[in-house]
Symmetry: C2
Subunit: 236 residues, 2 copies
DNA sequence: AATATTAATAGTTGTTTTGACATTTAATAT
DNA sequence: ATATTAAATGTCAAAACAACTATTAATATT
């Protein structure tokens, strides 16, 4: 199957930036690298692409290995191709970010990889260019979440408004007025209020909500600015 | 330099989606493929990544080969990794879009590649998954241009407001009210009015403008929506 | 029974942004 | 002098927005 002659072939890897949310803060899942070089240093979860799998396939495989989860929200970020980025051998890495419900993860076991959740703020130094990759991933979810409702992917099926607001506040490192927040939220019509309350966080308790999946999928597009009515246009 | 054992290596290519603007419509630069398979079919300009160059380096090299231009606006879009996307041999392709001033190009010669500008609307069918790549590139520039002033990269140093408006109208396939357009444009403070006029398009002539480069670079970030004052936040 | 705590709601206000809309002006050709 | 053509300009009302005050709800603590 080698038919293009005189060309060099390279290793191709995928690396996953896995985000979770504990109700208070954004977290990232890291593993202790199990082999040399940089053995026992913290690293993203990754793996080499195999001959018969696509990039998305490889990313999903790696993620399932690490978390036991399937059907996770996963999105390609970009390819890193500096010739020297891996000191052992030139390897192209395609990064993905994953948004998972951290509670689903906790029931899984992955001691095998020495995986650990870190607060995004005080994550340890990472091998190779993984630190740079994480920075790019943070930028990307900020960018995307400002226009699309992806952050719901980090929450459990049932969640409360204060949780959701904490999430937005943590992602954007800001304080949000909760009346204005609720007003905008209501306008999206994406939430369905449940009868049940979460009483763990307060005496009064906060009502649980769930996503209206249909509207979530239908309204995943959003509006933009320079252009009048850009939301109409972007879906074209 | 092969040290990761038992792993498969792959060809890596870059493919460039080159956009230009003729004053009326968005155009795309395509080439006639010079070798089998699919010889003489229309294709994106691409090339294999060499051992010592980065992805960006490869994309720039390919682009310079095709256009003679250097320092062009070039941005990575995404990696395509379907195992069967190239029938000859599995090849990963990393796509880039380029925005060039079509007039700078026209002085160049690239008969060697049988390159040709096509109106985006009636571009021919392309080989492999290149058609899909072009669609993704169109989406990406629409998305990005709604938030960032990248479309200026398509214009010559001196340009007129009607040209600029044509460009936006063509990219978004819409009509824009020209008073509102100018108002928003003025608000960006990105333009500097010149004394000279372009009289080719009308009797009255339209004033030329140029970009305020400093402000262009400084204000490349933009605003978003769900979050109050998101422009402040995104630059953090 | 009073108090403290967090969630939830109502709604006001002033500002900014938006979309819709029609006329005048400048340069040239006739 | 007049006609022609595209460029340039201003106003208004509605909507969206951020900032803010006040109150009610439900419970646990004392």
């Amino acid at each position: 199957m080698r038919k293009y002659i005189d060309q060099t072939r390279f290793l191709i890897a995928v690396d996953c930036i896995v985000f979770g949310f504990d109700g208070e803060h954004l977290k990232i899942l890291l593993i202790k690298r199990g082999f040399e070089p940089e053995k026992d240093k913290w690293s993203l979860m990754g793996g080499f692409v195999r001959p018969e799998e696509s990039l998305d396939g490889a990313a999903n495989r790696v993620l399932t290995q690490l978390t036991g989860l399937e059907g996770v929200y996963l999105e390609q970020i970009q390819a890193y191709g500096d010739p020297l980025r891996d000191p052992i051998e030139r390897t192209l890495s395609v990064t993905y970010f994953a948004l998972i419900d951290i509670h689903k993860y906790e029931t899984q076991i992955s001691d095998q990889y020495h995986a650990e959740w870190f607060l995004l703020k005080d994550a340890p130094e990472l091998i190779f260019d993984h630190g740079e990759m994480v920075e790019a991933a943070k930028k990307k979810i900020r960018y995307k979440a400002a226009l699309h409702p992806i952050l719901f992917e980090l929450l459990p099926k049932k969640f409360t408004i204060p949780q959701l607001q904490n999430l937005y506040e943590d992602v954007y490192n800001t304080q949000i007025d909760n009346r204005n927040f609720i007003r905008k939220l209501t306008a999206t019509k994406l939430l369905i209020k449940l009868a049940e309350k979460d009483k763990s966080g307060s005496k009064k308790g906060a009502f649980y909500f769930k996503l209206d999946k249909k509207k979530y999928k239908a309204n995943f597009q959003a509006f933009l600015n320079f252009i009048p009515n850009p939301d109409k246009l972007l879906t074209v």
